[in-house]
Symmetry: C2
Subunit: 342 residues, 2 copies
């Protein structure tokens, strides 16, 4: 049975009845739930004896009023979604429960918010950090689950918890993707069919960065140039940013010396999409990279996957095996574009 | 038995053994404890079954390195002080427990920190709010006790708790004063004998403001002028600020329409002292003010008290009974100065 709770006072009564040995896992969401959230709920269900999800479209993290106004709100569907996944409680507060009066005090996340989405969305991460802190204080979970899809948000929540000593363990959950590679997002609903067919190019571009790094490219400027080339193959999209960043501090790196996160945001029509992937550099020694994506037979399966059936074709025109052998390849050029037949 | 705890992990083990029906009261301090802290501990002891005090000189709330360096540190005395007052736990973390790495995330308190001490001490209240939040998260008390002496700090902690939904009840405790009116403060230890004898003029000046307001003066500029006159009678002190502020928002008010806090900071030599008092305006109607300080026989007892034995003399040169009768008086002029014989 999934109970919907609207008020903190109500939650406090419930919490008072929860035995100490229970473990509360919390999944904060803005609703419009999809299988990305499903993965968070499943992970919570696996680790915790009680699972609570929150559904709240947080006004203070939106930069654009229209984005806030048009954010999908489908509580009934979301409740059914949670019920089907064994969620115990849904916390769905009205605005006046979260912000009963002028909010004066905010959680400021510093430098971590200066890059990537923080640059295009001033104040966004302050709004995120503040509402996450409020929800943590209201619900007091032992575990909280966040998707790697919003990687900068995950990093910021980790900093928040660490720096303010919040007694909660943050668990990052890998991004869930459509079969063509597009990361699941509530905003995907806003894409029309033509836009949807182009959207996987974001992931493809990130895989190109990953592959270049796995093959030994360390110069960010060179990688960026190649990635931009790939995206310029799809004239209907506009690049907001592409960066390689330190996975903890989210600071852009000029030279890839250690694992980085390749992160990008694009606009397709009126919709902004973000995505990111883990990238490990090829070791300086002759050792094989242990975690980098590998090319086999001159073709990157995931690159092809991202293009298949999406009206896009990722065409790797030349891939030569580098000196290290072992089935790894270096890419000479990749072009992504809408296939004429799509 | 008072136990000294240095690490959060240690506290977590203790907290795990505390029964649910216990009530934890928390008194955060920077040590160098005096009877002002004593009042906080007593209030905590009255309301809570377990009392914890913290002793930590918080580097991120100091504007001046020397102020931080010279802040008195007397842990052994403080432990004895707490033990004598039945404190159960002292949390005295080393710096590396509070700030193990670069602090990136801060609690920003907004406008409330823009006035009074916030103006003279940029970043101070951010540092206070951040460390208070950290300590709340570490110790997780149900009640926390703060002195009214640091009134702006108390207001900010109330905002912090309310806006970030921290599950703790904040209790303000009235200022404890020496017999000559000087508010107790760890910084009083730095005053030499001559400076100490002048220090009560701060409280006297605030009482003048209170009296003027109780007698019907509503114009802040006029009140300020009179208060500054009083303080100018003591050339050895420098005024940092005097303001009448809204007790919740800490915004300066131009016209006193409702109860305000009169707050001031002065420098005596190298020492900065702050103090504040509650001031209720005389009602517009003919009703007697219920809580305002009253003058009897043309003399304000507390004004005299503040001067007595301190080398200061508060001399009220003219006090006439206003139209409302009932023993209230209006002050025409007050002069405060060092008495020649002191």
């Amino acid at each position: 049975m999934t109970a919907v709770v609207q008020r903190v006072a109500e939650w406090n009564r419930i919490a008072a009845g929860i035995r100490r040995e229970e473990v509360l896992g919390f999944v904060p969401t803005m609703g419009a739930l999809h299988e990305g959230h499903g993965a968070l709920l499943e992970e919570a269900r696996k680790r915790c004896s009680i699972v609570a999800a929150s559904i709240f479209v947080n006004p203070i993290q939106f930069n654009q009023r229209t984005d806030y106004d048009f954010y999908p709100r489908v509580l009934e569907e979301d409740v059914a979604f949670c019920a089907a996944r064994g969620v115990d409680y849904i916390f769905a507060p009205p605005d006046d429960e979260m912000y009963p009066e002028l909010q004066r005090v905010f959680v400021e996340v510093g430098d971590t918010s200066a890059h990537l989405c923080g640059r295009s969305r001033p104040g966004h991460f302050r709004g995120v950090a503040t509402v996450v802190m409020k929800l943590f204080q209201m619900l007091r979970p032992q575990f909280a689950f966040f998707g790697e899809k919003d990687y900068q948000q995950l990093a910021i929540v980790r900093h928040l918890v660490r720096d303010l000593n919040v007694p909660v363990e943050v668990v990052g959950v890998p991004t869930v993707r459509e079969s063509d590679g597009l990361a699941l997002s509530s905003r995907n609903r806003r894409l029309n069919a033509a836009e949807r067919s182009l959207a996987p190019c974001l992931y493809t571009a990130l895989l190109v960065a990953r592959q270049l790094i796995a093959c030994g490219e360390r110069n960010t400027a060179a990688i960026k140039e190649r990635v931009i080339q790939v995206l310029q193959g799809v004239p209907q999209i506009r690049l907001d940013y592409f960066e390689l960043v330190d996975p903890d501090t989210i600071r852009p790196v000029d030279v890839v010396e250690a694992p980085v996160r390749a992160a990008a945001a694009i606009w397709i029509g009126e919709t902004r999409l973000i995505d990111n992937v883990y990238c490990a550099p090829r070791p300086h020694s002759a050792e094989k990279p242990s975690s980098a994506l590998r090319l086999t037979q001159g073709r990157d399966d995931r690159c092809r996957l991202a293009g298949t059936g999406s009206g896009l074709e990722a065409s790797i025109t030349s891939a030569t095996a580098p000196d290290s052998g072992g089935g790894e390849c270096c890419i000479d050029s990749i072009e992504v574009g809408a296939t004429p037949s799509a």
